[in-house]
């Protein structure tokens, strides 16, 4: 009940904000009868309507993960974000080994297998991408190889 009400409220606000910002879209001088604003505003209105229905007629609450699991999930997101930033400057091998090792540990919390998984996945995927699929991946950061 509560989850859906909160979700509906958030969705309602996003929908209204979306509709409001759609009214600010610039139209060019060669406008067609509909123009660039109408459809986004329409979408915003329908979404707001749906959000209202969800608030008024909520479903039962889902089973939310415990606080500790939520923390683990947040950590996983942080690792992935770090990985996204690291993939460019640090090459493929190192970030991939670390990121997949951490994810593996989070799914099955055993240290050694997780570390091995990270190293193997990193090396194996690099071989597949580079030599079989021919993608232009950089193995190590440029400063390593000179």
């Amino acid at each position: 009940m509560l989850s859906d009400r909160i979700f509906g409220l958030v969705a309602l606000m996003v929908a209204l904000a979306y509709g409001a910002s759609a009214t600010q879209i610039q139209a060019s001088f060669m406008a067609d009868p509909v123009g660039p604003r109408t459809f986004p505003i329409l979408v915003g209105c329908v979404a707001a309507l749906c959000a209202l229905v969800i608030i008024l007629r909520p479903d039962d609450d889902p089973e939310w993960p415990s606080l500790r699991t939520l923390g683990a999930l947040a950590f996983a997101v942080a690792v992935l974000v770090g990985y996204a930033y690291a993939l460019g400057p640090f090459g493929f091998l190192l970030p991939t080994a670390i990121a997949s090792g951490v994810l593996s540990y989070q799914i099955r919390p055993r240290l050694l297998p997780a570390a091995l998984t990270g190293i193997r996945l990193s090396a194996g995927l690099f071989a597949i991408f580079k030599f079989i699929l021919g993608l232009g991946l950089v193995a190590l950061p440029a400063s390593f190889t000179g």
């Binding site: 979700f7 060019s28 509909v34 459809f39 889902p62 974000v81 996204a84 799914i107 998984t117």
Partner: protein, 501 residues
């Protein structure tokens, strides 16, 4: 015969050694994707699209590869349903009902072979149906103007939201999220940016591949972290594999009927393979009556959903190819593939690029035969792959998704967006909001708006033009019924729960 000459042309395209090799590889990967719990056909195909793209395959080759993966995944879903009581993908849920009990009686091998044959029959008949129906529908589709297309897109969203979800408001909201995201970027008509918040990265819009991989693949990782990979332990052992001739012959009619039911369910926009397997199982159950032992390991209960599921997979290609409106989540992903390859599905596809259409159909037939040959004698190999622990599988899938998306644009921004979609997908699925309408919205949003705007240009701003032709009115009527009727049918259509030990 027009059909035969077209088909001959298709085989001419599809039978080159290179495409054959791609079909075999696609079938193999597809079966693995389907068999592994947590890697469904939609996210499997989605992860592979960027890779196929960066390999530089031409349009026909990538289509052959991806449709083989698509059909393969439909075959593969049954393996873990039968052996582990975990559906490898959503449509395979119905196969657990009789497949797992059958496996517990020590007949796992029989169940696998029988369901493989049923899959073949379903997919084969559906491909024939696709060959007959698609050109007809393409001819009708030539009559469609912008008003009809607008109504058709609406119909797709309405039926998808109505039939495939438990809560109409949530499904409609999901469609709106997708449509809203599709609006971001430079407006085609005026050339001015919309809703980008001044962010230069968003001027090109949000790439649907980023959204698909995020919503399907990355979100799945979060679910596995939440559950610590539980529920994927080893189930039944596979003993000797023989061919159960008696069961196959006895369920012959079941397969034919289920294929027909599944095909029709697949053709309906928005319904897809899950509905196909559900309807064919339920109808066979009521035809067979109480004494047939459905739910306790009846061979016919294994054959029916598999034939229905694979027939629906073929049927879902009909609206996707002829109208550009996908009938299921996975065909939405295939539509994304076509768009990336610069092929616009629709009636003109059949007249302008027959080699693509008929090459695709021929490769479906080839893939189907390859899959039957691969799935009956080699089923043990796939069973062994099932024992890959999720602690290795899911990180691997994540890394492949990252590299795939990164290879498209080499931009960290797309990766961040993908993670964002992953978080969104996790929260939405927790709240029972379907994610397929979001994908459909992102894919079709631009087209839907364009058809609305073109309709209004044609009619000089007269809104009644949208309801001016009989086809348009019929589409609007079906859309409204398709959205509202399931509210009253909910109790009848209630899905049976999975059996728990």
């Amino acid at each position: 015969m027009d059909l035969l000459s077209n088909l001959a042309m298709g085989f001419g395209v599809a039978l080159s050694p290179f495409t054959l090799m791609l079909a075999v590889i696609g079938c193999f990967i597809g079966t693995i994707i389907g068999a592994l719990p947590g890697l469904g056909p939609s996210n499997g195909v989605a992860i592979l699209i960027p890779l196929a793209f960066s390999l530089g395959l031409d349009a026909t080759s990538s289509l052959v590869l991806m449709t083989s993966v698509y059909y393969g995944a439909m075959y593969g879903g049954r393996i873990s349903s039968i052996l582990l009581n975990i559906p490898g993908d959503e449509p395979a849920l119905m196969t657990t009902l009789d497949g797992y009990p059958m496996a517990k009686q020590g007949r796992a091998g029989d169940a696998l072979v029988l369901s493989g044959v049923a899959s073949f029959v379903g997919a084969f008949l559906a491909t024939i149906g696709l060959m007959r129906l698609a050109p007809l529908l393409a001819r009708v589709a030539f009559l469609f103007g912008p008003a009809e297309y607008f109504a058709l897109y609406l119909l797709a969203f309405a039926t998808l939201g109505g039939i495939a979800s438990n809560n109409q408001a949530k499904a409609a909201l999901a469609s709106c999220i997708g449509l809203g995201i599709a609006m971001i970027g430079v407006d085609n008509n005026s050339g001015l940016p919309r809703l980008t918040g001044g962010n230069l990265h968003l001027y090109d819009g949000v790439d649907f591949l980023v959204a698909i991989v995020g919503l399907f693949a990355v979100a799945e990782v979060f679910f596995f972290i939440e559950s610590h990979g539980k529920g994927s332990s080893i189930g039944v052992k596979l003993e000797k594999v023989t061919i159960p001739v008696r069961d196959i012959v006895e369920s012959g009619w079941t397969m034919l009927r289920s294929s027909a039911v599944g095909f029709v369910a697949g053709v309906l926009p928005g319904a897809g393979a899950s509905l196909g397997s559900f309807l064919s199982y339920m109808s066979e159950k009521s035809i067979a009556g109480e004494n047939a032992g459905f739910g306790t390991g009846a061979p016919r209960g294994v054959a029916a959903p598999e034939a229905g599921n694979n027939a629906a997979a073929g049927g879902a290609l009909v609206p996707m190819l002829t109208l550009g409106v996908p009938g299921s989540g996975t065909t939405a992903v295939l539509l994304a593939l076509l768009m990336t390859l610069n092929i616009t599905p629709g009636p003109t596809l059949f007249s302008d690029r027959p080699e693509v259409v008929w090459g695709l159909i021929a490769s479906l037939l080839i893939a189907n035969v390859v899959l039957l040959l691969m799935n009956v004698p080699m089923v043990r190999i796939f069973v062994r792959i099932l024992s890959v622990p999720p602690g290795v599988l899911l990180p691997g899938v994540t890394m492949v998704s990252f590299v795939g998306i990164y290879s498209l644009s080499s931009s960290y921004f797309d990766l961040l967006l993908m993670i964002g979609f992953g978080v969104l997908g996790f929260v939405l699925r927790k709240l029972d909001v379907p994610t397929v309408p979001i994908i459909l919205g992102i894919l079709l949003g631009g087209h839907m708006e364009n058809s609305l705007r073109r309709a209004m240009v044609l009619s000089d701003g007269d809104w009644t033009y949208l309801f001016s032709s009989p086809i348009a009115i019929a589409l609007w009527a079906v859309a409204i019924v398709g959205f509202i009727a399931p509210m009253f049918l909910r109790n009848v259509l209630k899905r049976p729960q999975r059996i728990t030990d």
